[in-house]
Structures are given as C-alpha cells and as structure tokens.
Assembly symmetry: C2
C-alpha cells in the first residue's frame, strides 16, 4: 500500500514535517519559517554548498532516506572541517518528484537532524520544490572565531602529509553494491553514511596545519588539488596506508585487484587530509607522505600512479 | 551545429568557466576554489536558499540562460532585502544534464554575475553536478550590521501595509507566454527577470518597518504569511492598487478578466511588502492597506477575496 505522495501532501505541509520541533541554539536569532534565518557568528564566515542527486550520488535501492539525509549533511560539513572552521548552521534545498511518498521525505529529515546533531550544526531552514530527480543541496556555514582559515594553498616542501579518517571504504562499498551484494557490511555502511572526523579540522588548525582538504574525490585527486594550489609536489608512502580487512575481501572478490586502489582513488569518505611541519602532527592523525619541491604532482612511492584516477561527476 | 556539451567539457572546466576572473571584494578572505569560501561580516548573518528548476520555474523556450541566471540571483537576494539585511555573498549549486550545451552554462554565469553586481552580492563559489533537470540553487548571505532583523511577526493593529516594487507583472507575463505570445513585452521581461527594489529593505528597516516579506507567492498569500506570523488581520485597499497598462491589455486579451487578479495573486515579482506605523512609510513605498485586530486573515476592501489564490509549487 503506497503512502501519501508529496503532491497529495502539499508544499507547506512537507516543509512543516521537516522543520517541526527543530532543536535551536542560542546562536539562532531567527529560525526556519521567515524569509531568512538569522544567526550569530564569531569572526569570519566559511560557507560551502554541496548537491546530491538521486542515481548520481545515491540510489534509493542502496540507501535509506535516513542514510541520504545523513550523507548530505556529513559531506557538506566536512568542507567546514577542512577550513578549520567551527560548524554553525545548515540550510537544505530539496527538489522532490511529486509522486514521491512523503514518508521518504520525513525519514530523510530524520537523517538530516541526526547528522546535524552529530556534526554540531543547526538546521536553519530550506526550500522545497518539485523536479524529476530527488536533489538535496546542503549549504553549510561555520565561523573562524578569529583564527585564519586553512586553505589548500599553504603546503611547503618539508611538510608531512597526514590523514584523519578512513580512505577507500565508500568506494569498496559501491563496488560491492554494484555487484548486487550487501557485504562486507562495514564498507556498504561507509558508502551510505560517511563519517568525517568531526572536530578534527579545528584540532589540525590549532596544531599548525599548513594546508587542508577533505577527501571527496579520492586521495590522489584531492592531494593533487593541494599540490596545484600550493605549487608543490607530494609523495604518498603506501607503506603507511593500512588496507582494512573488508577492503581486501572486496578486492579479492572482484578478481584479485589491489585493495590499495580503493585507498588511493576512492572518494566520498570525507577523511581530512592536511600538511604539517613534521613535529606538529596531532594525535589521531597518521602521516602518509611528504611535501617536496617540484612541479605540482602527486606520486606514489616516488613514481606516477599507473592505476585509475579519481572520478568526475560528469 | 550543436556546441560542446557539459559532458564533453568536464566538471572542472565547467566550474572554471563560471568562476574565471570573478570580481572580488575586500570582505572576501577566500574566494571560489577551496573547500569553503570565507568572508567577513558585520554583525549577525542572514541566510536564505532558493531553488529554480527547469520547466517548473523557467522554460528554456521562454527565457535565455542569462535571464535564468539573473532570476536565480534576484529571487534569492530579495529574501535578504526582506529581512533588512545588507546583501553580502552568494553560492550557486547547479545540476546540469550532461547533454546540455556548455554555452548555456556560460551564458547563465554571465547572468549570475550581472545580477550579483546589481544586487551588491559577491559570487563566492558553488557546486556543479549532473541530473536530468537544470536546477539552480542560490544560497545568499547578508549581515545585519548591528540592526535587528525585520521578521514577518511584528505587524501591529494600526500599522499600514506598504509595497515597494511591482505586483502582478510576472504573472501577466506567464499568461502571455502560455498563450504563445511575446507581448506586451514589459510583462514578459518581468517574468524573465524580476526587479526587486534593491536597497529598500534596509531603508524600510531604518524607517521602522514592523514586519516585512518579499512578494514571491502573490500579494494575498504573502500578506497571509505576515498575518499568521503576527497574529493580526490585514485589509487590502484595491483603490490603492494601480493596474498597469500592460496588465489591462493582457486581462482583456484573455477574455476580459479582472487585471486586479494579477496584482492580488501573481507572485515572482519580488516586491517588498512591509508594515509601518502610519507616519513611518518611507519615500518610494505605497500604502495599500491596513493592519487590524482579528483572526489572522487577509481581506480585500473588507471582504474575503473570491478569486484564485496564490500558487503552490506542488
């Protein structure tokens, strides 16, 4: 039996189901429901916007609505972490097919709220409209509290490259799902809901990170962005990359491929990647490479990577 | 001869064509191209997000890409004006069909930049992804510079209702276009590119506006939002509504309908509607009604409006 659709429920009631009883915070001067939300900030503001589209970034057959809501928030907040900003607020713009069951939207909203609580952001408002694809655009704001932002452009020869969070789990999960399986469950769950290391962006900034980025396109692709922005070369040491057991299982299942490929090219786990002076690496971060002088490029154990590159959305 | 498509050009080059040579401002600490943009603000921050979807909010047969870009910015910034905020920045999330000609995107970007300049906001960054519909989500930020925001909730019995900007022009334009015509040109252009009264939001705030909203759903619908949020009744005086000549032309062309219907129910012109103590109405604003005690409702010349109501997106 099909539940009520978005079209049968009406726009205002759909919005109502999302914002009903939202938790607030002392920083919120005006919450959802007015022309704008208004919130207090401490220092400069960091902002990022991130869109997820059905059948491009998620499939309803693979992820629950709750998962999709959590992922939309996590992916966006990871960008705030990567600047060393303190996450503050989020607005969510939703495009919904009229025939979509409104229960999907309500469950999506539950996921959004859960992950906002995990990430320390307040859901400030949003917009809903109709379209053929489910599209969720999360725009997030943080504040710098008087600290300078950590850009991609500050890596210096002599720095080390360190990671906080997982590499290549979501990619292994997609590989499994593409083959029609649901296990190893750990990597499937990692695809559904990334786990950015919330709070570690500020930790890295305070430890003296010289450059930072979140790993969304894949380790080599994202370090390539840092290398180009900073005008440096980066070498990744595979001896420092610990292949996880489920990644080895998946690699073996797909014909004995190198599980390192997941770690080097798999995106969407939203680990944080940062460069530090060698003595500055904070607890919980693992050194995986070095910054060297040279034309902007990323090498693996001193040589160009011969495998697949990171993916583009088009 | 078809131009290059988005898919042939690639995501990074599409983004490059949008952000290339962007004007900046002293408030921008980090511009497009990093994980976040970073900008300075003065006081509390106002934020709003607004999505436009092809064939829901615009048609490529009716509007140029430049028009669509301008409209996406104007509609979003009008929400900042309606809070009395100073417009500061904008991020744009785009969903593009892979087969779309990249020239459409470039022209869209020209429109975005033009209207950002008109509105006084800086384009700070964005995101592009693929999807079946062209979808543009503009998220805008302003600052309050120490002033309180003007919400929908402050209207008091005894206040007058005033408007700054046009009512019902875009709706008349859609009526014309739906019938396959292109004139009167003035209302067609009004549908393509709204003209919010930039700067008048702060003027209204400083004059003592007690409540404010931008007119996007239609005069009666939007005053209904104010009435409910403020717990008051509002009466609109049709003697104060000046039907414009092109509106009369369109009403006559569609069979002698009442052109007032456009003014009372037509949205998307993004005029500002505000309530003031009778002596506080600033120059350039026209009094069109009064706030009275009573159950939240909007009447027209003392009676319920019998015509069509504002439209919902679903």
């Amino acid at each position: 039996m099909a539940g009520r659709s978005v079209a049968e429920t009406g726009e205002f009631d759909v919005i109502g189901s999302i914002i009903e009883g939202l938790p607030s915070s002392p920083a919120v001067r005006v919450g959802p429901g007015d022309d704008c939300a208004v919130f207090a900030v401490d220092g400069d503001v960091a902002v990022s916007t991130d869109t997820m589209v059905e059948n491009v970034h998620f499939r309803r057959a693979w992820s629950s609505a709750d998962d999709v809501g959590r992922k939309a928030v996590a992916a966006a907040v990871a960008d705030l972490e990567a600047m060393g900003a303190r996450p503050v607020g989020l607005v969510m713009a939703l495009t919904l097919p009229p025939e979509l069951e409104v229960a999907w939207v309500s469950e999506f909203a539950v996921g959004v709220r859960e992950e906002c609580a995990n990430a320390g952001v307040v859901l400030l408002g949003g917009d809903t409209t109709r379209g053929r694809d489910i599209t969720a655009t999360a725009t997030v704001f943080g504040d710098l509290q008087g600290r300078p932002p950590v850009t991609r452009a500050g890596a210096r020869p002599g720095d080390v490259v360190a990671v906080c969070g997982r590499l290549g789990w979501a990619a292994a999960g997609v590989t499994v799902l593409n083959r029609g399986f649901r296990s190893p469950r750990a990597v499937v769950v990692a695809h559904r809901v990334p786990e950015p290391p919330y709070g570690q962006g500020i930790v890295a900034q305070q430890a003296g990170a010289t450059a930072m980025i979140d790993c969304s396109d894949g380790l080599l692709a994202d370090l390539g962005h840092v290398a180009r922005a900073s005008g440096v070369a980066i070498d990744v040491h595979t001896s420092a990359l610990d292949v996880a057991e489920p990644q080895s299982v998946v690699a073996a299942a797909v014909g004995g491929g190198d599980p390192l490929t997941f770690m080097l090219t798999g995106g969407d786990d939203h680990a944080l990647l940062a460069t530090f002076a060698p003595g500055d690496v904070p607890d919980g971060w693992q050194v995986i490479g070095v910054v060297i002088e040279g034309e902007p490029a990323v090498t693996v154990d001193g040589a160009a990577w011969q495998g697949e590159a990171g993916w583009q959305h088009f």
